[in-house]
């Protein structure tokens, strides 16, 4: 049974959260702006709507004529002619209806397509820090659930709304002609309707938003749990995640329930208003007829017209429903589009055409949002072609240095100079185009090995890809795969190991052939025999270009020109391997702990 009547009123707490219904007319306008480049097609649609509306009036009219003059008048010949004429009218009507839908679907989907692409491009313009605070699945929901909401509305609503308005205007015209008094009575429902719609919209707008948000939450949760399925299974926590899911599911149901119930009122409200006006016309019309003010015929026609009049209103009201949920979806899309972009301060930023690789950090400080100071007082300089190793305990700020250098994040204080240019004044794309990265988490895309390595340089030939794979020591394992370089890696990475993923990432960086090379724990999951082999290749790669290497296994970085020992976000020691060993400081103890465990 429905729990509708005895349900506690949860909307109070729903409203307590930060879901604000925005000014939705501005959202509608903004959706409209997407139509702008299809104006001419849109006007064709409008034309077809006008034609089909006209023809759908002409048909019944001609049939009326046929009955009056030919059937009643018994003129079989004239009838045949008229019927043939009518066939053309009906063909015209069907064709114009078909065309308007045909074009409208194209327009609507093109609009949605652009919106989707805009959203996608916007994601790429947003800074990395934006993604730190959001769940992947929640963001994905905006592309699927929210935009699809807009999509299903646009397909039908536009034509519906336009033809409704058209019919409305036409009918009201005839009604005024017949009896202004009764027209006024018929129209009296409009303020009521307006008031009712406002009341309902006020309640549903926020709820639809809430519903879309909860749907996003679910999407986020499912994505996360599916990604972490290995953990869920290993820890045998299926029951717990199901319980957590239920809570979110319940919340979605709740918000969906109220959104749907309230918006379900709209057509019903229209119905009662229609029926009311129907009764009003009958009643008032009856009194007027008794007084001889109007003829009975007028009342009869009027009743028929007021039906005609309310049908489009009804249609409009029904559309309103879907419109509300589309607006809620669109709002969430625009929310992202309005996020400030990564490149907002780059108007006078320059492009670097060639980079020698001189890097200098001047008193750099940075903290991740809401975090304590992560690094502070970083001062060091790197000559062109040098290899710098960053060592230190976990959390000391090694990856942060890389993040700052590549402008994934911008330093809060101080300057980072590349060839003497403050990198804040260099376009990010230009800056990164001179760098190649092997990042800590070696991410592979769904696709072939070829495609994944070629990601380093899209124009590379197959031979170059294979060459890079050989240098990275990935060639032998790739060859053993069933389809070799054409083997498809699925994202969950079945079939290849973590270490092999790293080998592919290294091949990718080798292929990129950059001025600056950044290796963040590039070989952490690779066995040491293979590592030694790659080391030679990397050594060759690093000669002549500035390289930043983060590593825990100190033997891999002994050759570095400079070793920076980071500790608690600052530089504790710096120098070459020998210098640091002679210092007998932190590095010294770190190095020796590798050999002498406290046995």
């Amino acid at each position: 049974m429905s729990k509708g009547s005895n349900r506690p009123h949860p909307h109070n707490h729903l409203f307590g959260e930060k879901v604000k219904p925005k000014n939705w007319s501005s959202t509608v306008k903004r959706i409209g702006s997407y139509f702008s480049d299809q104006k001419w097609l849109l006007s064709l649609v409008l034309l077809m709507v006008i034609i089909s509306s006209a023809l759908s009036l002409l048909g019944p009219f001609l049939i009326g004529v046929a009955i009056d003059t030919y059937i009643v008048g018994e003129n079989a010949e004239g009838l045949t002619k008229l019927l043939i004429g009518l066939i053309f009218v009906f063909i015209g009507q069907s064709v114009s209806i078909w065309l308007q839908n045909y074009w409208m679907i194209g327009i609507a989907q093109q609009t949605v397509y652009r919106m989707r692409n805009d959203l996608f491009k916007q994601f790429h313009r947003l800074p990395i820090s934006f993604f730190d605070k959001r769940q992947h699945g929640e963001l994905m929901s905006r592309v699927t659930n929210d935009i699809e909401n807009v999509s299903s509305t646009l397909n039908s609503s536009f034509i519906q709304v336009f033809s409704s308005i058209l019919t409305l205007v036409g009918t009201v015209g005839v009604m005024i002609y017949l009896s202004p008094m009764l027209t006024l009575i018929s129209l009296s429902i409009i303020p009521l309707m307006f008031f009712g719609l406002k009341w309902i919209t006020k309640r549903t707008g926020a709820r639809f938003k809430e519903q879309q948000r909860n749907l996003g939450e679910i999407n986020g949760y499912v994505e996360e749990i599916t990604s972490g399925q290995r953990i869920v299974k290993s820890f045998s926590q299926e029951k717990r995640v199901i319980e957590e899911f239920m809570i979110k599911n319940e919340r979605l149901k709740e918000s969906g329930y109220w959104a749907q119930t309230f918006s379900g009122f709209i057509p019903k409200l229209m119905n009662v208003l229609n029926n009311g006006s129907f009764a009003l016309i009958a009643g008032v019309g009856g009194v007027l007829a008794l007084n001889g003010k109007v003829s009975i015929g007028v009342i009869v026609i009027f009743v028929e017209y007021s039906r005609q009049f309310t049908r489009p209103l009804n249609d409009l009201a029904n559309q309103f429903n879907t419109l509300l949920s589309a607006v809620a979806g669109a709002e969430r899309v625009f929310e992202i589009l309005d996020e400030s972009k990564e490149e907002r301060d780059e108007e006078e930023a320059i492009e670097l055409s060639a980079v020698k690789g001189k890097v200098e950090f001047r008193d750099v400080a940075f903290s991740y949002e809401g975090d304590d100071q992560t690094v502070a007082g970083l001062n060091f300089s790197v000559k062109e072609g040098e290899t710098v190793a960053l060592v230190g305990p976990t959390g000391a700020g090694k990856t942060t240095v890389v993040n700052l250098l590549s402008r994934f994040y911008d330093a809060d204080k101080g300057q980072i100079l590349l060839d003497g240019h403050d990198i804040k004044n260099v376009k990010r794309n230009s800056l990164r185009s001179h760098m190649a990265f092997v990042l800590q988490d070696s991410f592979l895309f769904e696709g072939s090995i070829f495609e994944n390595i070629r990601y380093g340089r899209l124009g590379a030939t197959d031979e170059e890809v294979i060459e890079a794979a050989k240098l990275a020591n990935a060639h032998s394992f790739i060859q053993k795969l069933p389809k070799g370089y054409n083997a498809i890696l699925n994202h969950e990475g079945s079939g290849i190991s973590q270490g092999q993923k790293q080998l592919l990432s290294i091949a990718r960086a080798i292929l990129a052939d950059p001025s600056l090379l950044i290796l963040d724990e590039a070989t952490s999951s690779i066995d040491t025999i293979t590592e030694v082999k790659i080391q030679e290749a990397l050594q060759r790669l690093m000669t002549g270009r500035t390289s930043f290497v983060i590593a825990h296994r100190l033997n891999t970085i002994q050759q570095a020109d400079q070793i920076l020992v980071l500790h608690d976000g600052g530089i504790l020691e710096k120098g070459t391997h020998e210098e640091l060993l002679n210092n007998k400081g932190f590095y010294h103890s770190l190095y020796h702990s590798q050999l002498k465990q406290e046995a």
Binding site: F235, F278, D371, T374, G392, P393, T394, L439, Q597
Partner: protein, 585 residues
């Protein structure tokens, strides 16, 4: 697919109520013209104001009643559709939680996600709509035809003949569009997949400046979706003009036939007019019908997709001879001639692997990249089942343990440290729901992460995971170790989980772990770590290359010696050799 719709059964009563209310509304709508006629005939024509007032009031009352019915219908319909959506989402999620990894390979994550959200929404909307307008269309249709039959059955035959054709045509549209919308949903998966990949690989994409490349990829997927949606919708939209045309031609036929009959004096003009009127009414229902078809074909496609998930056969289940009273007591582990291949591939990843570890001992597993270390691990908690051979715990095959009991006894720390959105406390406590504050802090201390946590803005209440603070790779690893040890497992499995830790921290960690007295498996690349273990298992290309203690392997295994050399260099190698020989033999 029907299974998906069968979940509606729970809501029989509410559905019946909703449908009844729709009927009530419809009845009022049909009554109104009659009352109107009464007002005109008996009131106005006879000049009786009382009759006008009386029936006017009745009409008003009925309108209000219809309104009440409509409002009540909203509650019922929303209740049914939302609860139905809730149920399906829950069933699907539960089902997915019982999936094995083989099952997972059949459904990409992005597709599972769309199925659980977008497809369910699709169904939900269809149910809601059905409960409110579905009855109207067929009733109006049937009503129109029946009324015409009463008026003049000969003329009405035109409609009777046209109707089956229309129904047949609608069925065809439903079928065609149904399978086309199926493709639409699949394309939506495609869009979702590219999106997900991009979000996950954002850093890499930015690093390699592949925005344009990715945009092109996305636009392709997006264009696919657009094209497919457009052609599916266009099929649907063909139906209205066609149906309309058929009905209109039918009307023309009625006129033509009617006029001849009138000429013959067989029927009255009024009858022709009446039937033409009914035909027009029937045409006006067509819009609703096409709307219904659209909703149904989308729902059909979505129901199919959801049905596929629900109907998936789980291939890793508890066997019949599972002993439910069994639990892991000591943690002795034995692998007997174990061979393994991933279900979707042909090559054996492990061949004839045998070894045993006694309770409380530590086994280090070494081997080159891709030699099968992680695969070996997965067989103990039964993430996969062996292809050949047996894995025994305390002398009993792992398959005879209830899966949950088995996994509860094992603490796994995977290679990639996955944290969930939530606080540090929640993430560590994830390993053990009933863990106390002290246990969590103790686990964090042992995992060498306590100090780091205390420096976070909200200490144990700091949010981590997809929506949390930035943690370094090593910090994540240690949190995931804490998550495993908080369970005080009988068996602890560390899959290269200390790779991002510096050696000092690692040493402290390993010392702290010793007091847990559990059987420990450590996959590692570092000899220094392996040296601390009781046994070392050296894998090469899926086979056991050597096993024994550090000293034994130094003697017997050239590969092991090579690994040691690769890490210490010749000079230090001698040192290590000497050092270890004197201290541990």
């Amino acid at each position: 697919m029907w299974k998906v719709f069968s979940y509606l059964k729970t809501y029989r009563v509410a559905i019946a109520a909703a449908l009844f209310l729709t009927l009530a509304e419809l009845a009022v709508e049909l009554l109104q013209p009659l009352i109107m006629a009464k007002i005109i005939d008996e009131g106005i024509l006879k000049g009786d104001l009382d009759v006008v007032k009386h029936w006017g009031t009745v009409m008003f009352g009925l309108a209000l009643a219809a309104f009440a019915a409509g409002i009540a219908n909203s509650f019922f319909s929303a209740h049914v559709s939302q609860s139905y959506g809730f149920d399906i989402r829950s069933r699907v999620f539960e089902k997915v939680q019982s999936f094995s990894f083989v099952n997972f390979n059949k459904f990409p994550a992005s597709s599972l996600i769309t199925r659980m959200t977008h497809d369910v929404t699709q169904l939900q909307n269809t149910v809601f709509m059905s409960l409110r307008i579905m009855l109207r269309a067929p009733l109006l249709l049937a009503g129109g035809v029946i009324m015409s039959l009463f008026v003049n059955w000969k003329l009405a035959m035109v409609l009777v003949v046209a109707l089956p054709f229309l129904l047949f045509f609608l069925r065809w549209v439903l079928q065609t569009a149904g399978s086309m919308f199926r493709d639409v949903q699949d394309k939506l998966d495609g869009v979702n997949r590219v999106m997900r990949e991009n979000l996950m690989g954002m850093r890499l994409i930015k690093a390699f400046l592949r925005r344009d490349h990715e945009s092109a990829r996305f636009e392709e997927a997006s264009d696919d979706l657009k094209t497919q949606t457009v052609s599916s919708l266009r099929i649907i939209e063909v139906s209205i003009p066609v149906l309309l045309f058929v009905m209109n031609v039918g009307i023309l036929f009625i006129l033509w036939f009617g006029s001849r009959q009138v000429n013959l004096g067989a029927i009255e003009v009024g009858e022709v007019v009446a039937i033409v009127n009914y035909s027009f009414r029937i045409s006006s229902v067509l819009t609703i019908i096409s709307f219904i078809i659209m909703a149904f074909s989308r729902a059909k496609a979505s129901a199919q997709r959801i049905g596929e998930v629900l109907d998936t056969e789980i291939d890793l289940v508890e066997s019949e001879d599972t002993d439910h009273s069994l639990s892991v007591q000591k943690g002795n582990i034995e692998y007997k001639n174990v061979s393994f291949r991933y279900p979707d591939s042909e090559a054996l990843v492990l061949q004839n692997v045998s070894f045993s570890v006694k309770s409380g001992e530590t086994l280090a597993i070494l081997g080159s990249t891709g030699s099968g270390k992680t695969s070996l691990f997965q067989l103990t908690p039964r993430l996969y089942d062996v292809t050949d051979g047996e894995v025994l715990i305390d002398g009993k095959n792992v398959k005879s343990y209830p899966i949950e009991t088995l996994r509860k006894a094992i603490g796994v720390v995977p290679q990639e440290a996955v944290l969930f959105t939530g606080t540090v406390h929640e993430n560590i406590g994830w390993g053990k729901e009933e863990a106390t504050e002290e246990e969590i802090v103790q686990a964090a201390k042992d995992a060498q992460i306590h100090e780091t946590v205390m420096k976070l803005p909200n200490q144990y209440e700091t949010r981590v995971g997809q929506r949390g603070v930035n943690l370094s790779g090593g910090q994540k690893q240690r949190l995931s170790i804490a998550r495993a040890v908080v369970r005080k497992p009988k068996i602890l499995m560390l899959d290269d989980s200390t790779s991002a830790l510096d050696l000092k921290t690692e040493a402290k960690l390993l010392t702290a772990l010793k007091k847990y007295s559990c059987t420990t498996f450590i996959i590692t690349q570092k000899i220094s770590t392996a040296m601390e273990a009781d046994h070392i298992l050296l894998l090469d290309d899926g086979r056991v290359e050597a096993r024994g203690t550090h000293t034994e392997l130094l003697e017997n295994s050239p590969l092991y010696v090579k690994i040691v050399q690769s890490q210490f260099g010749e000079e230090d190698f001698q040192h290590v050799k000497g050092f270890k020989q004197t201290s541990s033999t």
